[in-house]
Amino acid sequence: MDTTELIRIGVYGTSILLILIGLYAVLTKRSLIKIIIGLSIIDGGIHLLLIGIGYIKDGTAPIFSPGSENAVARMVDPVPQALVLTAIVIGFGVTAVALSLVIRLYRHHNTLKIDEIKNLKW
């Protein structure tokens, strides 16, 4: 088993584990802030998974410099990087909106536990 294979299995396995840990937090925790922490852990796992898909053996960053115009074969895949770049910014916006909803819910119900928030309207 060579180095590239080990890196591949390690990165994929870790990102799958991160997604599962985040899902566990979302499904079993009762505190709303803990649930949002779980969502951001899932985010991180998915970003790592996509970047891991783009990695190739002995790859270099997809940036050309003078004299390296022919190094296309050694460059890692730029498409997942562009996707993850925008996904991180969107993830921040989603987290901010979710946290502002948490602040509003706390002000109305005076608790953050989801099993104590029973009525569906504020």
Binding site: Y12, S65, V72, P78, V79, V89, G93, V94, A96, L99
Partner: protein, 231 residues
């Protein structure tokens, strides 16, 4: 009991994820049929842009970026309306402790350097790693530092929304100018120049600088809104 069920379901889900991604053929097939070489070749031969990620974000998938910036704008608007306040209820940032004199003097020193770094990152977005999104967030971090260090440091929401609107209108205008020159939306109609020059890549640096202004204004407004909450 509930935890046991959840762990069982997660184990099943994780098993299928692992079977999909740890398969050795998964990567070989994707490398064979992917669009990677097309994008890399087009970037260096036609667009003359050094950073391929920038070329994909702004040019090949520029329409997606327009939608993405819109989503960010909607997030900032939603946050403002969820945490709505009358104008005279906006008080001090009492949610944080007052900063010590070392912190406030140090942040005054470091603030121009952070802004300069952000501007460098988004002006050189087509040459080096970075671009509008990265530079915009770095500038927002600089404003966050000043907002934490000084309680009376304030930003005008009107100025922020003017910057944001003009950057958005500029993005759409440069997209429509592609139509005028006989192409499609976001067509690269300017001369592309020489690879690795500061002025190269045609319309790519212009659009990414506009995106940088828009992202910086949106994130700064978002942080400014949420910092004025008090518990």
């Amino acid at each position: 009991m509930k935890k046991a069920i959840v762990i069982f379901l997660l184990a099943v889900f994780g098993f299928f994820l692992a079977v999909t991604f740890l398969d050795p053929d998964f990567e070989a097939e994707r490398n064979h049929n992917g669009v990677k070489n097309f994008y890399l070749d087009k970037t260096v031969s036609q667009l003359k842009t050094a950073n391929t990620v920038t070329a994909i974000v702004v040019n090949f998938r520029g329409f997606d970026t327009l939608g993405e910036v819109t989503v960010l704008f909607l997030a900032a608007t939603a946050l403002g309306s969820i945490l709505f306040k009358k104008r005279h209820h906006i008080g001090d940032r009492t949610v944080l402790m007052p900063a010590s004199s070392i912190v406030s003097a140090g942040s005054k020193l470091i603030f121009p350097a952070i802004i300069l770094l952000g501007a460098y990152v988004f002006i050189h977005g087509h040459l080096t790693p970075g671009g509008g999104f990265q530079g915009g967030t770095i500038i927002a971090t600089g404003f966050l530092l000043m907002l934490i260090a000084y309680r009376d440091f304030s930003i005008s929401h009107n100025v922020l929304s003017v910057i944001e609107s003009f950057a958005g209108i500029g993005f759409v205008t440069f997209g429509l100018l592609g139509f005028m020159n006989g192409g499609t939306f976001l067509q690269n109609f300017m001369g592309t120049g020489v690879l690795n020059d500061l002025i190269s890549g045609g319309v790519i640096p212009v659009i990414y600088i506009l995106v940088g202004f828009k992202v910086a204004a949106e994130l700064t407004g978002l942080i400014y809104t949420i910092l004025h909450e008090k518990g």
